[in-house]
């Protein structure tokens, strides 16, 4: 334990969730069905009450394992990133570590004072002034009044709200509110800090400031657990990362390897063709299916896309764009083919054949997102992660060292002429 700040052993967490049973794919809304369902529900809830069990809304109750047998260790001073899709169990893990909720099985050892920042501005009261909220929020996050008083000026300066410090926060703009809330949290000094997605607040400028502050805290030798969808933040901040998938943890890797594992796993679920899933809502104009084919080779790769589009009624003419994202889900470029003639106008099925000349790309997986709309401000349909393709060949065959995302995914064609001017002896 002496070296480890956090030890997690076989941690599991189960929730009970309720479903509404639909009959024949549709809810039945006749009075008889509703009464029957309500009586059933009442009997079940009364039985739960008598047994002292939890009341679950819905007709059927199902067990759901948010975490299953998760084990890992975090060393003192380590900054561990936690990545995974929505619903992978990240938040549940953080909630257990913050002692907000109890695990169903397994145990956790924590060596030191823990502060968790699961939400920015927890406990802020809109009727109170900025000054009062700093003290309130500080106390909630576990700071003593003395600590807060000592750091008060620093907090106010960081949040840039000096002028409004004695105004009730309900009069604040949402940006000011969030800045103040983060500023309080950023001045915590626990031994273990748990942060959930807080970088998703404020404008870009402020996000940078937050990231800088967290980096500073991390350098101070504190143990940090950090959940984010921002791969850049994970890469620049964390030494190691843990990938969660459906409540199961993959082994702990260094941050870059973990991110790649995550990307592979995520892209593994996307194919080279796409058909509209039946449960996806259908806008007036929507993609029915998309398929692609890669032609040629570097440096002259051609990507052929064929999209089938259905227009259900007369609409304004539309065009298509294609977004290219790299392994980190960062969009690196966009194709905006000129549609001739425009798609649609009249109801019917359309086929659109795209031919995209790719620039030089470093080897790896790329994901395509398809958009259709009449105007850049109006969207008919948007499939963000529709299709994936892989580049295997190297863009510059002479190069012997591997490509990394640190230097971007697009390689610019370039030449260099070398002339020796003088020989020194």
């Amino acid at each position: 334990m002496s070296e480890n700040a956090i030890v997690v052993e076989h941690l599991s967490k189960r929730y009970l969730i309720g479903h509404r049973v639909s009959q024949g794919g549709k809810y039945s809304y006749t009075l008889r069905d509703v009464i029957g369902r309500e009586i059933n529900n009442f009997v079940r809830k009364a039985a739960d009450l008598a047994r002292g069990r939890q009341v679950v809304q819905g007709d059927e109750v199902e067990e759901f394992w948010a975490l299953r047998d998760v084990s890992f260790e975090v060393k003192q001073g380590e900054v561990l990133g936690i990545i995974g899709r929505n619903g992978a169990g990240k938040s549940t893990l953080l909630k257990i570590l913050s002692r907000i909720t109890e695990p169903t099985a397994g145990r956790v050892l924590l060596g030191g004072r823990v502060s968790s920042l699961l939400e920015v501005g927890t406990g802020f009261h809109s009727e109170l002034t900025g000054r009062e909220n700093i003290f309130l929020n500080g106390a909630i996050l576990g700071m003593t009044q003395r600590e807060i008083r000592k750091k008060f000026d620093e907090i106010v300066a960081f949040a840039e709200v000096e002028k409004f410090i004695d105004t009730p926060v309900k009069r604040y703009s949402s940006g000011m509110y969030v800045r103040l809330a983060f500023a309080v949290a950023a001045h915590l000094e626990p031994e273990i800090l748990i942060i959930d997605e807080v970088l998703a607040v404020g404008d870009v400028e402020f996000q940078k400031k937050c990231l800088g502050k967290i980096t500073e805290v991390a350098r101070g030798g504190r143990t940090i657990l950090f959940v984010s969808h921002n791969h850049l933040a994970i890469r620049s901040l964390c030494t190691h990362a843990l990938v969660l998938h459906n409540g199961i943890a993959m082994p702990k890797y260094d941050a870059i390897t973990a991110l790649e594992h995550y990307a592979l796993q995520r892209q593994g679920s996307i194919g080279s063709s796409w058909t509209r899933p039946p449960d996806l809502a259908k806008p007036e104009v929507h993609f029915v299916s998309i398929e692609i084919g890669l032609e040629g080779g570097q440096p002259k790769h051609i990507l052929d896309c064929r999209a089938i589009i259905k227009s259900e009624r007369k609409t304004r003419p539309a065009c298509i764009t294609v977004d290219f994202a790299d392994r980190n889900s960062t969009v690196i470029m966009q194709a905006e083919p000129k549609c001739e003639p425009f798609i649609g106008g009249l109801p019917g099925m359309y086929r659109v054949d795209l031919r995209i000349e790719l620039p030089l790309l470093i080897p790896g997986l790329y994901t395509l997102g398809f958009w259709i709309g009449p105007h850049n401000l109006e969207t008919f349909d948007w499939i963000p992660e529709a299709i994936t393709f892989e580049i295997v060949e190297s863009p510059t065959p002479a190069r012997s060292f591997p490509y990394t995302l640190n230097h971007g995914s697009i390689v610019v064609p370039s030449t260099a002429d070398v002339t020796m001017l003088e020989e020194l002896t």
Binding site: M1, T101, P103, L109, S116, G123, L136
Partner: protein
């Protein structure tokens, strides 16, 4: 190495009460928040804490004293006797109803931050206690108005005030933890409080209860508390029944133990259920 915190299913917190002490500052801050928010954006503000008990006293004095012509204790003015009952009753009733909803009113705190949950309902009752102190001023005014000064017995009053406080803590803890799981209790409380107002000797003296029912009546914990208040304030002109007081005290102690026990048993699942 610092002490290691172990998180495990069903593990009772070893340092529970110590932890509670460590979080005393949060307790103070939460009570202060509830206090300062309580009368924000109202016109007459804290006067509400005076008006409500005063009007209740007026109505009870007229209905029970003048119309129903119920006897007072000794030669104490009826209004004073009624008010000596309203004081602890209001403390109990506001404490109970506010604390019962306190957990679900603080959902965001509970699902996002750890702290001993016991802090929230108790901080709410402290706010009710402050209201109690404010309405105490009315009592002083009434005493001057009727030229009725208390004697040495008044120094025992804090003991009974504390008893009233604990009388609301016990059931409040139990009900607030049930409220997290079953929201039905949100609707039970206002009813219970209204019902309690009539079965407790608030508008009338407990001496109107026939002697043979007296002990049974004292199992209502507020009977002992209100009798105690009247004994302190009215120069002992209302009698204090030791057995009745003991019965009330026992019921209060039982509910306090039961409330804390139930609260602690369910405390860890609050974040999942709320």
């Amino acid at each position: 190495m610092h002490d290691v915190i172990i998180i495990e299913a069903g593990r009772a917190e070893r340092h529970y009460w110590l932890d509670l002490w460590r979080y005393r500052e949060l307790f103070r801050v939460l009570a202060w928040r509830d206090l300062s928010v309580r009368y924000k954006q109202t016109v007459i503000g804290v006067l509400w804490a005076l008006i409500r008990p005063f009007l209740t006293m007026l109505v009870f004095t007229v209905i029970f004293g003048r119309i129903a012509k119920l006897p007072t204790d000794g030669n104490a003015p009826y209004a004073l006797m009624v008010f000596a009952g309203i004081l602890p009753w209001t403390l109990f009733a506001t404490g109970l109803s506010e604390a019962s909803n306190s957990l679900i009113n603080n959902t965001s705190l509970i699902s996002k931050v750890y702290f001993p949950r016991l802090i929230i309902p108790i901080a709410t009752i402290v706010v009710a206690f402050v209201d109690f102190l404010i309405s105490f001023c009315i009592l002083l005014v009434l005493m001057v108005w009727y030229r009725f000064l208390p004697d040495w017995r008044i120094i025992v009053l804090p003991v009974f005030a504390l008893l009233a406080f604990f009388a609301s803590v016990g059931p409040a803890l139990w009900i607030t933890s049930l409220n997290v799981k079953y929201r039905d209790f949100r609707y039970v409380i206002p009813f219970l409080v209204q019902f309690g107002l009539y079965v407790s000797p608030v508008g009338f003296s407990s001496s109107v209860i026939p002697e043979q029912w007296r002990l049974l009546y004292s199992f209502n914990p507020m009977v002992g508390v209100i009798d105690g208040f009247r004994w302190c304030i009215l120069r002992g002109q209302s009698e204090l029944h030791p057995t009745g007081l003991f019965a009330s005290g026992a019921v209060i102690a039982f509910f306090l133990w039961f409330g804390v026990h139930q609260f602690r048993k369910t405390e860890k699942s609050f974040a999942d259920l709320i």
